[in-house]
Amino acid sequence: MSDISGLIQSDVSADRVVPPAGFTVRLTLFSAGAMAFLAVFALALSLAAGRLASQWGNELARSSTLRISAPAEQMDTQVAAALRVLETTPGIESARALDAAEQQALLEPWFGPDLPVEALPVPRLIEILETGAGYDASGLRLRLQGEVPGAVLDDHTRWRRPLVSAASRLRMLGWLSILLIGGALAAMVTLAANAALAANAQVIAVLRLVGATDTYIARAFVRRFTLRATTGAAVGALIGLLGVWLLPAADDAGSFLTGLGFSGWHWGLPVLIPPLAGVTAFLATRAAAARVLRGLA
């Protein structure tokens, strides 16, 4: 905690004891910037996948389809029987049979607009909407078996699960990418800090000669690397945000690929990336400085 307060407090004289030049400045700035830029996209991907999983889950979980296949002369009777069964089933909010036009619209992508649905033995479909509590699918199937022999209940579980699972895994991969980006940033900052400490062995020797504690010496390096990483990450995150903002907006036709950006308060999350990069750099540099200073003792 004292390290963090010491880091925040400005100490111009202490900052000046470490020479300012060196390739480690550019390395840290560039690494932090690049990693923050990638982190913004990984975050956008993860959040979009999360939204998609949630949307698919909610939309599909509350609807089911009852398909009735029966000879033409029994079709209306069986549809009416099925609707009666559904009306008396607890957990079902509404059920309605699709009319010919709706069924034709469903088949249109495959058979074109001129398909004579009435002339073909296509099954009739009943759309079921559940209440929040849902219904007992096994119980309903048993009842339908007895009263509407041509009915097949599809509660969407079979094809909803893999979709939701895929979206969830995509979200997980997004978060994993963010973790890996954080790890890569820590590794780059550690390398840069090690190089800076090694290049400044003479400076460290002078500071020790005049009575500097290891904490003081480490703090001079840690503060510098933390500020560099935070600055680089701020620039990278800003450019990343601009890139996400320029992506096409979400629409029904484009679906997932056009909904890759942030929505609502999610736009605020990338603001956390620079301070997190700073914390990562702080921990990485502090560990590197402690190790190097122990070695130089």
Binding site: L207, G211, A212, T213
Partner: protein, 225 residues
Amino acid sequence: MIELENVAYSYGGGELLSDLSIKLAPGSFHFLTGPSGAGKSTFLKLCYAALMPTAGQVRLFGADARAMDRDAIALVRRRVGVVHQDCQFLDHLPLIENVALPLTVSGKDVAREETNLKDLLHWVGLTNRASALPPELSGGERQRAALARAVIMAPDVVLADEPTGNIDWEMSQRLLQLLIELNRMGKTIMVATHDLALIRAAKAQVQARVLRISNRRLQLAGADL
């Protein structure tokens, strides 16, 4: 203040110093002589815990050096001013900031010490070189700057390792006068040198004990001079 008791120091399998015992009393002035490679610098490093003895005990201001952690050693070094032959400075900082470095690292407000700092630079004759970078200084200027840095914290002890090694006789005399002045202020001084003329010049003005490292051991060498 600084006390060595049966101290030995081995390096690379061989013993460089053996069975050294000495107490540096407050206000005393010591010269340490001996041939090159005899271990004068090593002896001084033992006195400010830059090296630890391989046998025996070094006590710095009452504490066993070997029992000190690195922070405690850093605090001891604020009480011991050190002047090296190859004065070590931070080349990117101007002279005045290098001289003020002990104040900076100990967390003191350098701005409040500005008057003392200027007085000190005047004392060592470097007022007009305050903003020069170390690589721009001559050998004598660097030595005087190193002395100014060594005493800015008002240390109890000043250790100087061949402080006149790279400078001419006139500048050596000037530096010696500064060390004698410090001693008259009550500071304990130890100067490692093989410059016998310097020792003679000092003994004419101040009561100094001359020690010699010979065959790994410390001897009183005053009678030889």
